[in-house]
Symmetry: C3
Subunit: 268 residues, 3 copies
Amino acid sequence: MVNNICKNIQHVRLYKPLVWNITNQVVMNNTANALLAIGALPIMSHEKAEFEDLANIANVLVVNIGTMDDALFESTKIACSEISAIAKPWVLDPVGAGASKFRTSKALDLLKMRPTVVRGNASEIMALANAGISQSKGVDSYHHSSEALASGKFLADKFQTIVCISGAVDFIICGSEITSIKNGHQLMTQVTGLGCTATALIGAFVSVNDHFYEAAVTAVALLSVVGELAEKRASGPGTLQTNILDLLYSITEKEFLTNLKKDSYESA
Amino acid sequence: MVNNICKNIQHVRLYKPLVWNITNQVVMNNTANALLAIGALPIMSHEKAEFEDLANIANVLVVNIGTMDDALFESTKIACSEISAIAKPWVLDPVGAGASKFRTSKALDLLKMRPTVVRGNASEIMALANAGISQSKGVDSYHHSSEALASGKFLADKFQTIVCISGAVDFIICGSEITSIKNGHQLMTQVTGLGCTATALIGAFVSVNDHFYEAAVTAVALLSVVGELAEKRASGPGTLQTNILDLLYSITEKEFLTNLKKDSYESA
Amino acid sequence: MVNNICKNIQHVRLYKPLVWNITNQVVMNNTANALLAIGALPIMSHEKAEFEDLANIANVLVVNIGTMDDALFESTKIACSEISAIAKPWVLDPVGAGASKFRTSKALDLLKMRPTVVRGNASEIMALANAGISQSKGVDSYHHSSEALASGKFLADKFQTIVCISGAVDFIICGSEITSIKNGHQLMTQVTGLGCTATALIGAFVSVNDHFYEAAVTAVALLSVVGELAEKRASGPGTLQTNILDLLYSITEKEFLTNLKKDSYESA
């Protein structure tokens, strides 16, 4: 898969997929910049009147509930239907699932619409898995990503989707297959929206590669390796963010492969 | 108070308070980044359906009217009521009070709901004080922070709140006590949202320290000292913003105390 | 015109015009920062209740449809009417015209309200010109700015406005006069919102100079020269954005004139 990963990065730079985002107001700017840095083209829209046109021209839809309200949720469902109806991929980021019943329930409603990939942190993935079988348990405290593996597998199976769990170790789950990425750096948790950035990059990669699992692994691995390298040159979270954008743009195949710590296995 | 100030900075890094923001669209990203840099955890939401849950899990609410509209104002009042009802602190940033009758009147309505702290620049504080006794006089031109001291004391007394006035000298007013901070740098006025950042930091600090006056002083002093140090390494407003985030994360007790120019006194 | 260009830059720094923006959620932060960096003062608002007050105190209105929805469009038309009614300039950025029928049609409706200047990339300008004489042809692929010259001249004539076309070469069209700017750098296309920044700077410059054509040329030239110089110190799109803000603030007359590649001529 490693050679394919590098090929995927080249594909995004070459094909410049158009990534339609319905995302939160906090991260719009750095999501757009991260997509541009890898060679993709972002467009943001929440206006129903242009959803049909955007579904037609975009290569993928990325949905993020970080500052969602009820009206935007209703529009978002339409967007997901539009993009699904023409068999294009879409990706879900359930920001804050577990923090409020509203977020848990809206994220679950979107999950039922079968995104190609869902990506969250451990608490979000666990909240969704618990909500899927019972009522929301409210907000979760922070968990290690490995604690959410069972929840991730449950969601991947139940909703026939690929589940990515971000954390000190990132996991990508597809059926019985699991890939772990042991890159990244603790300081990345002190920059807002890097999880959202991961989701947007997943969107870009699944739009140029029909092997969605491999595409999701590529996106997660790319951001984690880039974050790790960017931290080495950073003096804090401000320069870390700037360096991440620089490196998403300039990272070479060799830098990427030399640093990648990836492991794949079958789950029990 | 100086030893307590350093203890407060450690407290935020240790307790990682959850800061709920209803803030403007311009500064959401850097507000979130500044909160993360000091060790706090930001969440943004304007959806009424989750206010009760968020009031329960958040440690403080920060309200900022920078891009407020009528619908958001109505929601915001509910949020302020929810958080007050369970005796948690909330902080108000009356961005642009004085620039329009809408802003002045909405800021005043929120002030009447008794925020723990209100922070603004001199023109905003003066507009609110004038509006409190008569009609708005429209937009004010820029004033020095010291010109707003009487207005600040009036508001602190009338609304039983702590008033922070930002400027070349920052003032924090609580009853008859006044603290002045003579740090910062002129270039900070050419980065958007550093006032809003100050307000968000005040939110984080009052959420971990029941001595709200001391907490407000800490937040204001921290950002002013950090801004002053960040400017020394900056080539302009772009690198200043980046350096501020780096230094909010990395500043040591010694760097902070060596540079702090703080004065406290009783008002007449 | 070259001496005037430098005078214009000084004028903005001296007069600090208040630039009212109704802009998209992706670029609000860097638009505000770019305006502050050149010495202007940004204010963002989409609340009708304060439009009359803002029209009175602002020196110019900048309208950007990048994340526009139907409700915001209705408000925006009122804002354009208010500012026109008191003979102040306003500037239009038709982000994504051509990408959806919604955007093309809304941009065209605004264009009919006669902005002082309209600025877009080649695809946007061509979409508007085509829509002006027939139905939208949907999204355009990327074109070179020179391909849009005929469209730009058509729009400038039909709507009696100044048309700016951004690209590897920037064109500013006013009646039969055309100025081309051959500065900038390819990497600028991998930072989000630099087109929107150009539009906001045009707003600042037309607000301090009644010779709108010269003002538009100044703004476009300033950002292109700054971008070119900023790239020389950048390691990628992250540091490019930061450097652009630094240089908008610090560029000297000499640096600017030494690097400017400007050409003016009469069109056929």
